[in-house]
């Protein structure tokens, strides 16, 4: 599963996209993906907020991830 990274999320992981290793079980939901990220990179747990976008829209924790979805990690936004 390919995950896009922006802002501080890119700095935490050290690259602009991230491949969840195939040997691990595929996270079924947005919630599972967030938990996976926090356990792999504890810095994610220290952010003011952490959101996930699926196909360019904010996704609720319960949303189920499907193969082929465009998934992005959205750290606290700060435009304007």
């Amino acid at each position: 599963m390919e995950v896009l990274l922006f802002g501080i999320a890119k700095d935490i992981v050290g690259k602009s996209s991230f491949h969840l290793p195939e040997e691990e079980s595929f996270p079924k939901s947005v919630f599972e993906l967030k938990e996976r990220l926090k356990s792999m990179f504890p810095e994610f747990g220290k952010l003011s907020s952490l959101a996930v976008a699926v196909n360019s829209a904010y996704a609720e924790d319960a949303e189920i991830l499907k193969e082929g979805d465009e998934i992005a990690i959205i750290p606290p936004v700060s435009g304007g």
Binding site: F6, I8, L47, S48, S56, Y58, A72, P75, G80
Partner: protein, 140 residues
């Protein structure tokens, strides 16, 4: 016929045509807000800001926000335009504006546009100081 809604991510913001873009024969009031790079944050000198975006999602969110404003305040035109890349002191980084029959609606809508953009649109700002740089709002 110009579009009711204009949303854009650009490299360089031009503020000179925004009132022409928002002009409409049914509009008596046009309110525009411009955000620019400020020289100091908490008394610390800012060298520049760097903006990054998730462009496809940002444009969709900006479009949703603009449409919410049009529906709520019966606006004739709305603009949301944000710059990305490195911006120096005094450079404009965001322009939002709304035109409506009367001024109340244009002020309220303009305020909603910038407040909601700051909450929802996936754009990230890094403050570059002399000896460090910080992603704004990342940490509590």
């Amino acid at each position: 016929m110009k579009d009711t809604i204009i949303v854009e991510i650009v490299d360089t913001l031009d503020t000179s045509k925004v009132f022409l873009e928002l002009s409409h024969p049914h509009c008596g009031g046009i309110c525009v807000f411009v955000g620019a790079v400020r020289e100091f944050t908490d008394n610390e000198e800012v060298i520049a800001l760097e903006f990054e975006t998730y462009k496809s999602m940002a444009l969709l969110e900006m479009g949703k926000i603009a449409q919410e404003a049009v529906d709520t305040w019966k606006l004739q035109k709305v603009i949301i335009r944000h710059a990305v890349g490195v911006k120096e002191v005094e450079e404009p980084v965001v322009v939002v504006g709304a035109s409506s029959a009367h001024r109340d609606a244009s002020f309220e809508a303009c305020r909603f546009l910038i407040d909601t953009l700051k909450k929802r649109v996936p754009i990230w700002k890094k403050e570059m100081f002399k000896n460090k740089s910080v992603w704004v709002s990342a940490h509590p």
